[in-house]
Each structure stands twice: as structure tokens, then as C-alpha cells.
């Protein structure tokens, strides 16, 4: 019995190892390239470790990206929080407080996720210019919140669908209606789903380029994706700076993953049903 179990474990761990290599490969290339000096960078030597550790790429990338990073933070954090909250409330209503036509409503809202950004770009920019939201972080945030509604709603609705209805019942027995049940019962147990949504929205909004480049037109308002893209010239690309820039730009998102990862705790739900 013990032998079979450890063989099984070995197989599991080795598969995990193979996949880890798959995930690590590009990360390795990214980091080693970012620490090379311009002379060393090149596709033909991509696997080689840097002969000489060089920080020049980071210095250059860092100074060019600093403002964009600030803008991105001011854009992404509020937008993620608001769109998560909106999605949570929507998902809650749609999964636990259905009414006639609520499924149709959900489908209609969901369908909105499918539109390719390119087709709404021009009317969107026009509209925003009319209402004075052009070239502002607030405007860009508003866009992401609106276009994030379908997906955040979807994720929360699916999550709440796995939550037993007993919780609603328990709340009703205590005399709580829709809002109170949300605030006292559902919100506290929504953490895993908030984590997933926050990861998704933060990543998408942080890395989004098309809207960012079209709705802002000055370095003072441009998010880091635009600044990152601008690190490359139209002709010559300094790959070490680009990679260093990519590393720097991905750090905040990674921070979010690391910080929120702590909330993937099992038994959260079990505790509330029991108690």
C-alpha cells in the first residue's frame, strides 16, 4: 500500500515538475535578458546566462516607466475594487434572488462581454470626448468598470451558485432580507471569489493596451502599458530594456497575486454552514 502511494506521489510530483519547467522557461529568458547589457542581448544567445550582470536596462526602463506606473495604480486599484463589488452584487441577485426575466437579463448582460474592443473604439472615444472624459484616468477607469460588468457578474454568479441555499434560509429565519443577508452572510464568504475576480480584473485592466492608448493622449495620463510599448522604437528594439520593463510592469500584478493568494483557504464555507 505504502509503495503504491509513494509511486503515485512520485509520478504526480514529476509531472508537476515538468509543467513547472514549462512555466519557468519563458520567465527564465525574460529575467536573464533583462540583466544583460545591450551588447550581450540577442536571440542566438537567449539561453545563456548573462556573462556580466548589468542593471542598465532596469535603470533606463525604471525611469521611463515611473510615471506610467503611478497612473496605472491610480487606474487599476479603484477600477478593480468597484467592478468587483458591482459584479458581486449582480451575481448575488442573479443567483439567489431570481425574478421573472432575471435569467434573460443575465444572458443579455453576459453577451455584452463578447464585443471586440476594436469595433467600439471609435464611437467610444467620440462619446467620451463629448462628455469630457477624454484623456483622464477616471474615464479609462469608467470604461473598464462598465466593460468588466459582464465577466465579474458571471464569475460571482457562478460562485454563488455553488453556495447552498440554506444560507439564505438561515438568514431569513433571523429576519434578514436581501441586503442584510448579503452584508452579513454572503460578503464574508465571498473572499475566494473576490480573489479570483480581483486577479482577473487587475490583470486585465493593468495590461490593457487598446483603450489605454486611445483614450489618453499625453504621458501624464498614460498607463504603464503605453509607456512600456513606447520603450521600443519604431525601428530598433533594445530587448534588455524591454524585458526589464516587462519585469517591472508585471511586479504590481504579481504582488496582487501573492497577497490575495493567502485567501484561498478551504473550509471557509464549511465553517459558516456548520455554525
Amino acid at each position: 500500500m505504502t509503495l503504491r502511494v509513494s509511486l503515485y506521489r512520485i509520478l504526480l510530483y514529476s509531472l508537476l515538475l515538468i509543467f513547472s519547467i514549462f512555466f519557468l522557461l519563458p520567465i527564465y529568458v525574460m529575467f536573464t535578458t533583462s540583466f544583460k547589457s545591450l551588447a550581450e542581448v540577442g536571440q542566438s544567445s537567449m539561453w545563456a546566462l548573462p556573462l556580466k550582470l548589468s542593471f542598465e536596462a532596469y535603470v533606463l526602463a525604471g525611469s521611463r516607466l515611473a510615471h506610467g506606473l503611478m497612473n496605472s495604480l491610480m487606474l487599476t486599484i479603484p477600477a478593480t475594487m468597484i467592478s468587483s463589488l458591482v459584479g458581486s452584487i449582480n451575481g448575488y441577485c442573479l443567483s439567489k434572488w431570481k425574478f421573472k426575466g432575471s435569467n434573460l437579463l443575465f444572458t443579455l448582460v453576459l453577451f455584452g462581454m463578447f464585443i471586440p474592443y476594436q469595433s467600439v473604439l471609435i464611437p467610444l472615444v467620440n462619446f467620451f470626448r463629448q462628455i469630457g472624459f477624454y484623456n483622464s484616468i477616471a474615464g479609462l477607469a469608467a470604461v473598464h468598470i462598465v466593460y468588466g460588468i459582464p465577466i465579474t457578474t458571471l464569475i460571482f454568479r457562478n460562485y454563488y451558485a455553488t453556495v447552498p441555499d440554506e444560507l439564505i434560509e438561515a438568514g431569513r429565519i433571523d429576519g434578514a432580507g436581501l441586503l442584510k443577508t448579503y452584508w452579513y452572510v454572503f460578503l464574508p464568504i465571498s473572499l475566494p471569489s473576490f480573489v479570483v475576480v480581483a486577479i482577473w480584473q487587475f490583470t486585465n485592466i493593468w495590461n490593457e493596451f487598446l483603450f489605454a492608448v486611445s483614450l489618453t493622449n499625453a504621458p501624464s495620463t498614460q498607463p504603464v502599458t503605453v509607456a512600456l510599448q513606447n520603450l521600443s522604437g519604431s525601428m530598433i528594439s533594445q530587448w534588455n530594456t524591454q524585458m526589464a520593463g516587462a519585469v517591472i510592469a508585471s511586479m504590481p500584478t504579481l504582488m496582487v497575486y501573492i497577497l490575495l493568494g493567502r485567501y484561498f483557504v478551504s473550509g471557509l464555507l464549511a465553517g459558516s454552514v456548520k455554525g
Binding site: 504526480l12 512555466f23 522557461l25 519563458p26 520567465i27 529568458v29 525574460m30 536571440q43 542566438s44 544567445s45 537567449m46 539561453w47 452584487i89 441577485c93 434572488w97 431570481k98 435569467n103 443579455l108 453577451f111 462581454m113 463578447f114 464585443i115 471586440p116 476594436q118 469595433s119 467600439v120 471609435i122 464611437p123 462598465v146 466593460y147 457578474t153 457562478n158 460562485y159 451558485a161 455553488t162 441555499d165 432580507g177 436581501l178 441586503l179 475566494p192 480573489v195 486577479i199 482577473w200 490583470t203 495590461n207 493596451f209 521600443s232 524591454q242 520593463g245 516587462a246 510592469a249 500584478t253 497575486y257 501573492i258 493568494g261 484561498f264 483557504v265 478551504s266 471557509l268 464549511a270
Partner: protein, 290 residues
Amino acid sequence: MKYSKKDRVTSVLLLLPSFILVLLFVYGFIFFSTYISMTDWRGLIPSYKFVGLNQYSQLFQHPRFKVDLFNTGLFTLIFLAANLFLGLWLAVMLDRKLRGEIFFRNLFLFPMSVSFVATGTIWVWIFNPTSGLNIIFSALGFDTKNWGWITDPRMALYCVCIGAIWQMAGFTMAQYLAGLRGISDDIREAARIDGANEAQIFGHILLPQLWPITVGAVVILGHISLKIFDLVFVMTQGGPARSTDMPGIFMFETTFRNDFFARGAAIGIVMLVMVAILIVPYLIYSRRMD
């Protein structure tokens, strides 16, 4: 389940703002796009002359678009299947309270945080036959002479798939992990006491519980893959020889390089319909399960 009228009204009111915003910003613009797709607007002077479905008929006869449709179908199939399997498998692995779970979890999520420019570039380097994977494989003893990877029109699409899966598998894993964590241990314990083995627990208890998440993942991943533009554009620009060309790329070039706004809008609507065709059956099926 019956509840008070007050609660019913509250529910509607809470959902109303989202609905209105979506109506405006999504349906309003879809309507606008559809209208444009039925005009002859070409060039930077807007023209709203109605031409019916002309744009669409010309589009479907366009050799490049026909290739795009095939590519996107194949890409979506591979991307969806691989992503779901890999994401689920990784989540199941990590759910077992392994040693180093935190490290692995962040490792698998990291690709999502990297910008598509960097991702695309690195994967192109990796798939370059003269300097990428082939160096590793020949060191391991393989004969890599004919392995063209991204330079081979027959292999390029799979290379792009791998790059895309690398970037997105972590999110699928996160979703499944959240779902698995939402299934209380008691249910699993009870099953184990009843004599079920791990595989049975997985197949009969966990998997069905994860169904809403699977549906959600299919919807999210499906629409990303059908609309994909950024990553493929950086990696191959649609080449070599259109083997990785996607409707999203064709749409971008048509709209912003050729100024052919009517045709660009038509492509956009076709992309929209493709996603609807993929997603709607799933939604109906999952509704019946609810």
C-alpha cells in the same frame, strides 16, 4: 423559493444600473457597428449609404478571411481543451496541500501578469528553430533539422497555442481552485467513509460541483480565443503565410490601416456571432442543470 416583494424589487433595482450601462455601451455600440457594417464606408470620410449584406458577402469570399475562420476555429478548440485540462489538473494538484503550494500557485499565475509584448517576444525566441528549443532538444539527442516551429506554417499555429495556454492556464487553475476550496471537506470525508476512492470522489462529487466553473471558464476562454489579437500580433503578425492569421488581426488591419470601416465592422459582427454560437448552447445546457 419565495421571498418578499420588497426583496424582489431591491434585486431588480440593484441590477438596473448595470443593465442600463451595458445596454448603452455594449448594445448601443453593437447596433452602431452593425449599421456601419451595412454601409459602404471606406476611407476617412464617413459614408452611410446602405448596401445591405454586401460587405458580408464580399468578406466571406475573401481568401484571407476564409483562412482566418479556419485558424480561429482550430485555435479555439486546442486552447479551450488544453486550458481546461491543465487548469483543472493543476488546481487538483494544488488542492492537496502539497509542500510549496504557495510557490507553485504564484508560479502558475505569474504568466498572466506579464505583458503580451514580452510574452509574445519570448515565445517567438523560444520557437525560433536556430536559437530556441532546438538547441535544448539537440543537446538531448533529437534530430531537430526539420523542426521549424514558428517558421513552419504547419506548426506555427500550435506554437501560438502554447504561448496562449502558458499565459492563461494559471487563471483557469485559480478559478478551479476557488471552486474546489468552496466544496467543504465534510462532503469528501463522508464519501471516503462510505468507501469511495479518490477517483470516484473526483468524478462523482467534485467534477459535477465544478460544472458552473467549467461553464464560466469556457465562456471566458472561448471569447478570448475567438477575439484574440494582441498576443498573436506580436508573435507572428498572422504569418507565416497566414497560418496564424486571426479575424482580430484582419479586423485591425482593415479598420486602422486600410480605413475600410464598413468591412472592419462586418468582421467585428462576425466575430461576435461566432462567440454567440459557441457560448449560447453552453448557457442553455447549464441553465437546465441549474
